[in-house]
């Protein structure tokens, strides 16, 4: 992991700037020197494993945690001293955050009531917000009379009705079932496009992140590992962690045999593989990691010509996953590689233990030094 991550800036005018932010709980470091800039009107996703620090970062932006060091600027103003109710943010929580003693209308209108708006104005804005989330027919229900998806929509309506600049979403779909989560992802994306405010969304689910994000920041072990648009994060991960966390990448460990400027030869499991150095500075003998997405790996006969973009192995098994089938191949050093193909037939599959060769295009393998 990097220490003192570079500033991950956005091309848009900044709505949120996080500068050298650290958060410690005694000896435990929840966030370490995080820098990130989130543009106004951007849908920004904080993605990472549980306990990585993404929720801590979100809650620090929202004013629910005080940073140990560093600062948070919202719309250019430092807000470190402000409590949540004084910030231009609002928040959607994972679950349990609707007020159970209030109806849907009262929940959505609560922030407006606190702000001192007239009753007729509140009613008008609440109706519009509920219409936006498709809940106009449930106005008099209490939260326990709604499904999980409806409850999260009420939370969304309660947040967007306030017309704040920044909406923080803390794993808003985590408590929903898979199908509902997919539907809600698209709804969230469309809602963000409709209202045009900045959404900062925390999730550990990469599919959810890919669906909604303009940009994704990967957070793990308190570090902001990598930040970029969804396609780049998936197709061209820079760091080893990103490659291992996003998508289904085959991770190979090896040593640089020869480095010659733009390309390098890497010793991996008895094979010599050629890889583009991507401008990374590497030296002979340096341990490195390589990643290849599983859908870019093909299986060939064992007697196929050996080259610098293939490696020998033994077939292990196939796993049928519906749309795709994963073929598992064990390399001589014990590493398991996956080749994922769209196929609905088991015909012609090798026997378990049969020797074969896995291959890929030269542009599909990536070198990682950290």
């Amino acid at each position: 992991m990097t220490k003192g991550t570079p500033d991950m800036t956005s091309p848009r005018p900044p709505a949120v700037e996080v500068r050298n932010l650290s958060k410690h709980y005694g000896d435990f470091v929840a966030l370490r020197d995080v820098n990130v800039t989130i543009g106004a009107g951007e849908y920004f996703v904080l993605l990472g494993p549980s306990g990585g620090g993404k929720t801590t970062l979100l809650r620090t932006i929202g004013g629910f945690h005080r940073p140990t060091s560093g600062e948070v600027l919202l719309n250019g103003q430092s807000v470190g001293h402000l409590p949540p109710d004084k910030r231009p943010t609002t928040m959607v929580f994972q679950a349990y955050a609707l007020f159970p003693h209030m109806t849907v209308t009262q929940n959505v209108g609560y922030g407006l009531k606190v702000a001192g708006l007239r009753k007729d104005k509140i009613a008008e804005k609440v109706d519009y917000a509920l219409e936006q989330v498709g809940l106009s027919q449930f106005t008099h229900r209490k939260p326990h009379e709604l499904s999980g998806g409806q409850q999260q929509r009420v939370q969304l309506a309660r947040a967007i009705v306030l017309d704040r600049d920044i909406l923080l979403l803390d794993e808003p779909l985590a408590a929903l079932d898979a199908q509902l989560r997919k539907d809600m992802c698209l709804e969230l994306k469309h809602l963000q496009e409709q209202v045009g405010i900045t959404f900062i969304h925390v999730t550990h689910n990469q599919e959810e992140a890919m669906t909604v994000a303009d940009r994704i920041a990967l957070i793990a072990n308190g570090n902001l590992v990598e930040c970029g648009n969804a396609r780049d994060i998936y197709r061209a991960p820079d760091k080893t962690f990103t490659a291992s966390f996003v998508g289904e990448n085959n991770m190979l460990s090896g040593k640089i045999a020869t480095a010659n400027g733009t390309s390098a030869i890497v010793d991996v499991a008895g094979a010599r593989l050629s890889v583009d150095t991507r401008g990374l500075h590497v030296q002979d003998g340096q341990p490195v990691n390589l990643s290849i997405r599983s859908e870019c790996v093909a299986i060939d006969h064992a007697d196929a010509a050996a080259d610098a973009h293939s490696i020998k192995g033994a077939y292990t098994e196939s796993v049928y996953l519906g749309l795709t089938t994963s073929h598992l191949v064990r390399l001589p050093d014990g590493t398991e590689m996956i080749s994922r193909v769209i196929s609905d037939t088991d015909d012609g599959l090798p026997e378990a233990g049969a020797p074969l060769r896995v291959t890929w295009k030269p542009s599909d393998i990536r070198l990682h030094v950290e």
């Binding site: 929202g62 004013g63 629910f64 409590p83 949540p84 109710d85 943010t89 609002t90 928040m91 929580f93 994972q94 679950a95 349990y96 955050a97 609707l98 007020f99 159970p100 003693h101 609560y110 922030g111 606190v114 702000a115 229900r141 326990h144 009379e145 709604l146 499904s147 999980g148 998806g149 409806q150 939370q155 309660r158 947040a159 306030l162 923080l168 509902l180 539907d183």
Partner: protein, 294 residues
């Protein structure tokens, strides 16, 4: 009872429960029985009358005692319940819960006469110190601050009732999700507004129960009140001193029965209301629980 329970054992459990309740309530029921006897306690002949109830309000000693006790109950409740509420809120947010819970519940484990005597000695010494301070400053203004009085009894009863209120409120607070307070803050409410609008309505039952409990505890309390109030002029102390010296008057039985009737009615109403509300909520939820499109 489930399908595999032994019916006889089931009946025995109910009989046992009834026996316990009867044991607990028999003395109260006996006082009620005596309060309606025109011949009073211990008489051979039982003649039903409401006369003693009519005479309650002409017994100045009893009415005065009731007034003092009622004032003590109100003041102690007004101070102790908010203090217990704050303590429960602190406890919920504290990382180390063992130490605060030990501190708060400690008064429960000290015998009442020991705690009462300790407070008596403490107030006596405090009073002497204040008198000495007044003498030093040439004023008598501090002379009565910590004489045994309503104030010292109030302090003693607050110490006595806070642990009970704390436990009662904490039980209700256990169901409250702190995310709701954060959601209210995210909606623009400050800390107090979030508490009052969101948290309090959900823990209200516990707070009101704590209030009822505190009032009942103050009415029941004898040891601390008799040691710290000065003068046997509260409800329980009057009844007990009467009983010890001259025997209770028929009006005292009537007053005791009346207070018991009121306490039973209040607690019964709370239980009935809670049961009816739970039943109504469950019926509403069932009625609305038809499949909903997400």
């Amino acid at each position: 009872m489930n399908d595999y329970d032994n019916p006889l054992l089931h009946k025995l459990k109910w009989a046992y429960l009834l026996l316990v309740v009867t044991t607990l309530m028999t003395p109260v029921l006996y006082v009620m029985y005596v309060s309606f006897n025109a011949n009073g306690f211990g008489a051979n002949a039982y003649v039903f009358t409401l006369e003693w109830y009519g005479l309650i309000f002409s017994d100045e000693l009893l009415i005065g005692a009731l007034r003092w006790t009622f004032m003590l109950a109100v003041v102690v409740t007004v101070i102790a319940v908010p203090m217990a509420l704050l303590a429960a809120k602190y406890y919920k947010s504290a990382n180390n819960k063992l130490f605060p819970v030990f501190l708060l519940l400690a008064p429960l484990f000290v015998p009442p006469d020991i705690l009462g005597s300790a407070l008596l000695v403490f107030f006596k010494n405090l009073n002497l110190t204040f008198v000495w301070l007044g003498d030093l400053l040439g004023t008598t203004i501090f002379d009565s601050w910590f004489r045994l009085s309503f104030l010292t009894a109030t302090i003693g009863l607050i110490i006595y009732t806070i642990p009970y209120s704390f436990v009662v409120i904490l039980i209700t607070m256990g169901r409250y999700r702190p995310e709701q307070t954060e959601a209210a803050r995210a909606c623009g409410a400050n800390g107090w507004r979030a508490f009052w609008d969101i948290e309090f309505p959900q823990i209200r039952a516990g707070v009101f129960s704590a209030c009822s409990f505190t009032v009942i505890l103050v009415f029941n309390e004898y040891t601390r009140t008799s040691l710290l109030k000065g003068g046997f002029d509260t409800f329980t102390t009057v009844l007990i001193s009467q009983m010890l010296n001259t025997g209770m008057s028929p009006q005292s039985y009537a007053m005791s029965a009346l207070v018991s009737f009121i306490a039973i009615a209040v607690i019964g109403s709370i239980i009935l209301f809670t049961m009816l509300r739970a039943d109504s909520l469950s019926r509403t939820a069932r009625a609305k629980a038809e499949p909903v499109m997400s």
